[in-house]
Symmetry: C2
């Protein structure tokens, strides 16, 4: 490794210098180091080389602070393909049997777990035990109990646990949050999150209870939960929920097709949310305050987030969500940067507690209280 | 009265000729009678000369099939003002004590009841007993029991009972319904109705339980109920609902500030609705089918309804809602025209049954089943 870079990291200078801009903090450091990223680059291995894993890998090509350097997969042919495509050395390739050995690999800093939901819990704990930082795709786990165990394991191993909340770095989303914090919407009264799509291939793991841990709620409904929290800026204190199933063949026992759910916040604001694997043309967040509103549509898709407020269109420049996410995660991991909206395990756990409450509310038909 | 007009009405010719357009169905009827409306003009007295009554009166200036000819009010100065403004003869003016005498007035066909909600029940029954057709502003009554009694009274008196559902005649709304009936949206899966506004003056009758019979639900939430039914094209079989109150001073016991409610339909479609007197920037209907969608925003306001479907913007020409409504109501009353979406008492009663169920669901916290 670059010795000067190691030195700068040790003294925490890189973060400082980024803040200082063109003013050099050290007379003996040449000016040009401020032009390019001189912080420690996050060297990432992706676990799970499916559709979303590929999307992240492609997005990481444009990263300046993070780099794809390794893979973990149960399919040797996929590993070969990725090695060629992303120039990954043999020594950074693992399968699900041997990836604990990554602990002996000094060239991998973090593992991004992008596998079916039910595997996150055990895999993140193994990553932690291997002494690597864990980035875990959402949902972080199947329930709060699992999530807490993952947090505990990462804390014990002294590694970071981050959740792939790409929208927490999305510029137009952040602008709405900035406006809310500045009081531009006045008192926030209402949030609406409509998340869903008509899912295809009935044989996919997302429709398999054992792998997905649920149905639409685990995959797409979680965006409405998470969005409600970051848009309103509060933690809900109650949940009600109603499930509807029209196709019990496609959506088997334990795999939710459509769930409507409502959240109540300490301020009195309420959220009305929809999670569905069988309703098309959804992807809308709406927030209303007594002085203004924000409407984002699409609000969670992979393409540009579009939206407007009472002040007009949101025009912040956007880029590929996963590119910003991975670059920002590098600074969170190495420089302890605090993002505006957290992406740590605690944040993931908050969503899991609400998912637990939603499933309980569906089952009992009753309002479920949450601790604020 | 015009004898030829009476004759045409008797044989139902005017409706027929309107359908035939420029082709004269009768050789002995001059062509020009097809240019202007030749049906019987509905002569209306408005009961309740408040803000909405004034709006209807203004809109009726442009009517060709209905005419404002009388007033009923408890405020003599208002009567004087309206007499001058709308050229209303003294003999067509009544107060709340003497309006039963309208039964002896051959120059009034119908009375449009635009008074506080709690008065509709007794007033419509008095109108029926006076042998006049009743048009009643929504909500038709405070509950289904009252609604049924009004229906029974009008049936017994052999007069029509219509409810002021202006949107049932609104061209863009009707285009969406036409598209749905034509299968353009495919299988309808979801409806969302967000209705509400931050209400002003805390002393108004709408915030008085005794006069309003409730709060936002009676006044604005009913649009979401009614919209859910005409957009989905089915009658709901279950209701769940959650009330939130942040300002118990402004919104006293029995006056709902904000209610979220959900409806389930026999097909499996669901509706997610919001009714509020304390949330701004609402007025949106959204319907999603498996082949297309409709979004209307504003969906219920007095101005032009705006919207789009998967095929693009809705561009049907619009005009003042109440003008079309009153003209259409003339043909419903005198020619027994069947509108695409009913506006009769049975239609009003369906909404009241759902309101009853919503208030029950709020009270019990449980899902309330409805008869399909």
């Amino acid at each position: 490794m670059n010795t000067r870079r190691d030195f700068l990291q040790k003294i925490g200078a890189s973060a400082l210098m980024l803040k200082l801009g063109s003013i050099s903090a050290f007379a003996n450091v040449p000016d040009q180091i401020e032009q390019a990223y001189e912080g420690r680059v996050l060297r990432v291995a992706i676990m799970g080389l499916g559709g979303y894993g590929t999307r992240v890998a492609e997005a990481m090509k444009a990263c300046t602070k993070a780099k794809l350097v390794g893979v973990i997969s149960g399919t040797p042919s996929k590993i070969k393909e990725w090695q060629t495509k992303y120039n990954i050395p043999e020594k950074n390739c693992y399968n699900y049997d041997n990836f604990d050995q990554v602990k002996n690999n000094p060239d991998i800093d973090a593992i991004y777990v992008i596998t079916p939901n039910a595997l996150h819990h055990s895999q993140v704990i193994r990553v932690a035990k291997a002494g690597k930082h864990a980035i875990c795709e959402k949902p972080m786990a199947l329930n709060a109990k699992e999530g807490q165990e993952m947090l505990d394991a990462c804390k014990k191993a002294n590694v970071k646990l981050l959740v792939g909340y790409r929208l927490h770095f999305e510029p137009r989303t952040l602008e709405v949050i900035r406006m809310r914090n500045a009081g531009d919407f006045g008192k926030v009264m209402f949030f609406q999150g409509q998340c869903g799509f008509k899912i295809g291939d009935p044989s996919q793991w997302r429709l398999n209870k054992a792998l997905a841990g649920g149905g639409s709620m685990m995959d797409i409904g979680i965006y409405a939960i998470n969005g409600a929290r970051y848009m309103v800026g509060e933690e809900p204190v109650w949940v009600t929920a109603q499930e509807t199933k029209t196709d019990p063949v496609k959506f088997k026992e334990g795999v939710d097709e459509t769930i409507q759910f409502q959240l109540g916040f300490p301020s009195g604001a309420v959220a009305s949310c929809l999670s569905s694997y069988n309703i098309n043309y959804l992807d809308r967040f709406f927030m209303s305050g007594d002085k203004g509103y924000a409407e984002m549509q699409p609000s969670t898709g992979y393409g540009p987030i579009k939206g407007r407020t009472h002040n007009g269109e949101l025009t912040q420049p956007t880029t590929t969500h996963q590119t910003i996410q991975m670059d920002e995660m590098a600074t969170i991991i190495f420089e302890d940067k605090k993002p505006v909206v957290p992406v740590n395990g605690e944040e993931g756990l908050k969503d899991l507690k609400i998912i637990d409450a939603i499933y309980l509310a569906v089952k009992t038909g009753e309002k479920v209280k949450l601790r604020a």
